[in-house]
């Protein structure tokens, strides 16, 4: 990949990100005139604009935008990472049970009528537990086999299936007037209830995940080789894979704990990024991050504004992501 082309890709993505961000600041069901918006952005907290505008903007719209940026980036980066580790382009961030575990944690806490903070902590914790269990079972079962990725994927499927069954169990006994719709809506994913507190909460695991993966992004190239080849390069495959999985899981669980199940982002964005800059992780990760930000922010804009009802984000990402994926498949077939 030529350095010139890389620069163009980064420049275009940065411009796109800025453009979508500016548009996102301006759109929403609550109308704020462009002039007032400018006043708001420059005079935060002062009485420069109508008090209600400021409150709506800073308490609702702005945190939601930031959440879309963070979650879009997190799901895309962890998706790209998992695809590399498992050497499989069909892998998405929920492969090891992080999303199913987190969803169960959330459903359980809605059922128990716990508050928002316990919900997110429980979701996050169960996400980690899900991956931890599939990873440790995977390691045990793969035993002396050199390559444990297939076993890992299978264990992930089993854990996901178990958590899905548990979610169904909770839904079965949840009160259909308030609890059940809340669980269902949560499972569909969405950022409608994001506040600045959620961002603070999410920032810690996300930062650890991002920093870890970016420092290890050169090793990710090696991890997509077979374990024998990795060993020949003097890298401890299992240990490196463990650290990388931990980082990717922090990203996934942190995102799901705040935004619920947002499908397809982690699958489709790495493909788009790979199309732009090729499979080298030192470029793929930053580009996935940028594309993920733009993608989720744009889709969430549609959720926020298209209808008077709140469209669940997960439905739209799937509706847009799935056909896009087909288009990418068709394209790569031709090449």
């Amino acid at each position: 990949m030529f350095a010139g082309r890389m620069k163009t890709v980064y420049a275009v993505l940065a411009a796109l990100l800025a453009a979508v961000f500016v548009v996102s600041l301006g759109v929403g069901r609550y109308a704020i005139a462009p002039g007032d918006l400018l006043a708001l952005l420059t005079l935060r907290g002062a009485g420069g604009a109508d008090g209600m505008d400021a409150i709506v903007f800073w308490s609702t719209r702005f945190p939601r935008l930031i959440a879309a940026l963070l979650i879009g980036a997190a799901l895309s980066v962890s998706g790209a990472t998992y695809q590399g580790i498992f050497r499989n382009p069909l892998v998405s961030p929920d492969i090891l049970g992080a999303a199913a575990g987190a969803s169960f944690g959330a459903a359980l806490s809605i059922f128990l009528g716990l508050g928002k903070l316990p919900l997110q902590c429980l979701a996050f914790a169960f996400g980690l537990v899900g991956v931890l269990v599939s990873y440790s079972i995977g390691l045990r079962f793969s035993g002396r086999a050199r390559d444990n990725t297939v076993t890992l994927v299978l264990c992930g499927m089993v854990i996901t299936a178990i958590f899905s069954a548990l979610i169904s169990g909770v839904k079965l006994i949840a009160d259909p007037y308030d609890e059940l719709p809340t669980i269902t809506f949560w499972l569909m994913g969405g950022l409608s209830y994001v506040t600045s507190d959620d961002i603070t909460l999410m920032l810690v695991p996300l930062l650890i995940g991002f920093i870890g993966l970016f420092l290890l992004r050169h090793r990710l190239n090696v991890l997509s080789l077979s374990d024998e080849e990795i060993g020949a390069l003097g890298v401890d495959a299992a240990k490196t894979r463990g650290v990388v999985i931990l980082c990717a899981t922090l990203l996934t669980s942190g995102s799901v704990a705040v935004g619920g199940m947002i499908a397809w982002v982690g699958l489709i964005v790495p493909h788009i990024a790979r199309l732009l800059v090729g499979p080298n992780y030192s470029k793929l990760l930053p580009v996935s991050l940028l594309v993920g930000m733009v993608f989720l922010m744009a889709v969430d804009d549609v959720c926020r504004t298209a209808l008077a009802i709140e469209l669940p984000l997960g439905i739209l990402t799937a509706l847009i992501g799935a056909p896009l994926f087909l288009a990418l498949l068709a394209r790569s077939g031709k090449e």
């Binding site: 945190p63 709140e310 669940p312």
Partner: protein
């Protein structure tokens, strides 16, 4: 290749270094949050107004008599004109000690007009997210606050961060149904009725003309709501509220009080937007129905409690009448009753007040062995084993109109060979619950449901109970709407107006 491996090894070291730095950063962040917050009060209050501190609000009244909340006991801490610095500091300390809007802060020391506070929760990242704005107070009193020695005042212009409704708005503390305390405006002017049964409650409480937005579910199955409630047809509607509320859309109507679903993620956003809320709840006993209404009334103010009393009196009188006649029934004289919602295999567990409603009406609630609350799933075998004598079906819409949804539900139950052996089906004792302005299995009309079930399963005990007259009286007393006898009969027959 050797070079590259070396780079990877270097990467490992950098991970450790970055991790250590991150940890140090996080720990230092915690340390910063642990700093003491100090409030210094000087002078004395010379006029009424509002004191704000730590994002919360305390009313300053002219004197005891002018407390606009009347004698309401839900205003536990307040101060008066003439109070000095020590009294104000003590009141703030009191409020924090009792957790009235002081969540996240604990009183460490108090000395005259000087308060020292500590973060109460170490794990509450959310609570520590925003630095509190500088405190403000009305004329005469100077109040400063800040971390360490860095004390600031927000000034009388109110640039400090106020509680609900922005700085300077007068507030009251109320107790939600689950016992937690919240702030609401002293006199709410713009109310959003998002929670399904909150609309009928607000009509009863005399606040319908203050509603600025309502939910789709309040008219979806209830043509009678548009007939009986004066304003409901003309109000903006929030769609799909059972799943989620579009918060920006809701804020477009600029509500100062929202009656909403018990969904913590939603109320958290409302808190951030400084909009007060009162949340609904699943009522677990018949007494809860009155209690939830009292909570709804506390959101409106003292005068609304009188309307809640009117409801409680009607409720208690009818409940006593029914219970008085069914109390002596022997076990054998209590038919087995099964209550279904929407689908015949959806029922109510022991966490629902429907169980108590059935037993008060003189029946045996077969589903009381089930865990869970409203509308939980059961199966055909269990239903067959219970073999109820009566089946009531709620949530099935209107008869005749809209394709006769309700009649179809009954017809399907009678036609299904699976249920053919059940007494209620064999004896044609499947009853469709009326609705009127809202569902009868939740909300205010639950007392009508108790009477209706009692009269249905024990006609011999309630020969003199005229359901149409009861419905007329209820709508007149509770909603102030004069139903004709014909209209009341239409409601009982689930016909649209």
């Amino acid at each position: 290749m050797g070079m590259r491996i070396k780079t990877w090894a270097g990467g490992g070291c950098r991970v450790l270094l970055a991790g250590a730095l991150l940890l140090a950063f996080l720990l230092s962040g915690c340390g910063g949050k642990g700093a003491d917050y100090r409030i210094e009060v000087e002078g004395a209050l010379s006029e009424p107004g509002v004191i704000t501190y730590l994002g919360h609000t305390m009313n300053v009244y002219k004197d005891q008599a002018s407390n606009p909340c009347g004698d309401c006991a839900l205003q536990p801490v307040s101060v008066f004109v003439g109070d000095g610095a020590a009294a104000v500091a003590a009141a703030i300390g009191d409020a924090l000690e009792n957790d009235f809007g002081g969540a996240g802060w604990a009183l460490a020391a108090i000395d005259g007009g000087s308060l020292t506070l500590k973060r109460a929760d170490s794990g509450g990242i959310g609570a520590g997210a925003a630095a509190p704005g500088a405190p403000t107070a009305p004329a005469g009193l100077t109040i400063k606050g800040g971390f360490g020695g860095n004390l600031k005042t927000g000034g009388a212009d109110g640039s400090g961060s106020g509680g609900i409704g922005g700085t300077g708005a007068q507030i009251r503390n109320i107790k939600q149904f689950d016992g937690t305390l919240s702030e609401v405006p002293l006199v709410p002017e713009r109310i959003a009725a998002v929670y399904g049964p909150s609309y009928e409650a607000l009509v009863l409480l005399g606040a319908e003309d203050r509603i600025v937005a309502r939910a789709d579910v309040q008219t979806e199955n209830f043509p009678w709501a548009e007939e009986v409630f004066a304003n409901i047809g003309g109000l903006p509607v929030l769609e799909d509220v059972h799943a989620a509320v579009n918060i920006e859309q809701l804020l477009t109507y600029k509500p100062d009080l929202v009656y909403t679903f018990p969904r913590p993620n939603e109320t958290a956003v409302l808190d951030k937007a400084r909009v007060a809320w009162v949340e609904g709840a699943t009522t677990k006993s018949l007494a809860d129905v009155k209690e939830l209404l009292r909570v709804f009334a506390s959101g409106i103010g003292a005068e609304a409690q009188g309307r809640a009393d009117v409801y409680a009196a009607w409720f208690d009188e009818r409940l006593a009448l029914v219970a008085g006649r069914t109390a002596g029934l022997p076990e054998s004289g209590r038919p087995k009753v099964y209550y279904a919602g929407t689908d015949i295999l959806t029922t109510y567990g022991r966490g629902s007040d429907i169980i108590e409603a059935i037993e008060t009406a003189g029946g045996t609630a077969v589903s009381k062995e089930l865990e869970g609350g409203n509308r939980i799933n059961t199966d055909a075998e269990k239903l067959a084993a219970w073999n109820p004598d009566w089946i009531f079906i709620d949530h099935c819409g209107m008869s005749g109109s809209e394709g006769g949804a309700a009649d179809e539900v009954a017809a399907r139950a009678y036609a299904n060979p699976k249920y053919a052996g059940i007494s209620a089906i064999r004896d044609k004792q499947v009853v469709l619950t009326p609705s009127g302005v809202f569902y009868w299995d939740m909300g205010l009309q639950k007392i009508l449901l108790v009477e209706y079930m009692a009269k249905t399963i024990h006609p011999e005990l309630f020969e003199d109970l005229d359901m149409a007259a009861e419905v007329q009286d209820f709508y007149q007393t509770i909603f102030g709407y004069p139903l004709t006898r014909g209209q009341a009969e239409q409601i009982l027959a689930r016909q649209a107006p």
